[in-house]
């Protein structure tokens, strides 16, 4: 796949933001600083990447890397049948990114999922609440420093007693 023209234009337009452009197995990956992700993705959308195929996150705690978290956007152009992966780095101290819900509606629930499991907040998201865990849940379970067996959430329920047949064998 030849996206060299596009990536050159991107690097010219956003010289401070694009950290690295790499291509492996016909897949172009852009690595960026998180703060200007909205401008870059707007640019890519205007360029024909009309479909946000996936939005997810990686915790780099044990992997190393530029920052603690990477938010990954998989874009697809239906017209040109091209794919591009955009990785935005987010720091642990300030896990905040601009929401891309204004570009692709599907980002609404995907960003909620990333918020639920990684605790990365998305600025100007219309409804940033937990999507899978209970609302009162504490912590972000897919962070690598979250214990696998949890912090006692699964034991924190009232016990419903047998009402009548108490002395049954």
């Amino acid at each position: 796949m030849d996206l060299s023209d596009l990536t050159t234009r991107l690097q010219e337009k956003f010289p401070d933001t694009v950290l690295e452009v790499s291509e492996e197995n016909d897949e172009v990956t852009l690595q960026l600083k998180g703060s200007s992700i909205l401008e870059i993705l707007s640019f890519l959308k205007a360029d024909g990447f009309n479909f946000l195929a996936d939005l997810t996150a990686v915790d780099n705690l044990t992997l190393g890397g530029n920052e603690r978290f990477t938010v990954v956007y998989h874009l697809l152009s239906h017209e040109r049948v091209e794919r591009i992966v955009v990785k935005a780095y987010v720091s642990e101290e300030k896990p905040l990114l601009p929401s891309v819900e204004s570009l692709w509606k599907t980002a609404d629930w995907q960003e909620r999922e990333v918020y639920d499991l990684f605790g990365i907040e998305f600025e100007s998201h219309p409804n940033l609440i937990r999507i899978m865990n209970p609302d009162e849940f504490n912590g972000y379970p897919l962070r690598k420093d979250f214990p696998r067996q949890g912090r006692g959430e699964r034991k924190d329920f009232p016990i419903v007693e047998r009402m009548t047949r108490g002395d049954r064998e």
Binding site: N133, P141, R151, E153, F157, I159, T164
Partner: protein
């Protein structure tokens, strides 16, 4: 039960308790709580090959208020547990509970923050059916064990309602 032969017509004598329990055990109405693959196996038990209707328990009710047997089939997450407890409490007395499969009984392989490690920690369970998922024969065996429990039930137990 006993048969009195000396009367003009045939009369069957029994106790109300035995008659009621006989009726109950042969018409258990299950409330299926299928959250995972055990739920699929539960459907197989209902289907013609295994045919749980032979044991009078084919009247699946998706309303807990019409059921007397709760079938917990599958893993229960921390978000689902309050729902399960609510459903258990909505079922009228007398009621029985089968914990079907490894996940409902012990959490199974899902030893994670979100999966309850056995529903018996929080609701009463009468019969555990092991397996991942259990074969239909396993669930039918569990149902027969419930029937034996129903048989032994006494009215005096009901009066202990709080």
């Amino acid at each position: 039960m006993g048969l009195i032969k000396d009367t003009k017509s045939n009369i069957l004598t029994t106790t109300v308790e035995a008659a009621v329990n006989w009726g109950r055990k042969n018409s258990l109405w299950p409330m299926p709580f299928g959250t995972a693959c055990c739920g699929i196996e539960l459907m197989a038990v209902l289907a013609s090959r295994s045919d749980i209707a032979r044991f009078g328990a084919e009247a699946i009710r998706f309303s807990p208020r019409q059921s007397d047997l709760l079938l917990v089939a599958g893993r229960i997450t921390i978000k689902m547990m309050p729902v399960l407890q609510r459903i258990y409490e909505q079922m009228p007395e007398p009621k029985w509970v089968i914990s079907m499969g490894a996940c409902a009984s012990s959490g199974g392989v899902f030893d994670t923050y979100s999966v309850i490690q056995g529903v018996d920690q929080f609701i009463p369970v009468d019969v555990y059916v092991p397996g991942c998922p259990p074969r239909p024969e396993g669930l039918i065996d569990g149902l027969i064990k419930i029937q034996k429990l129903v048989e032994k039930d006494t009215f005096s137990n009901y009066s202990k309602r709080k």
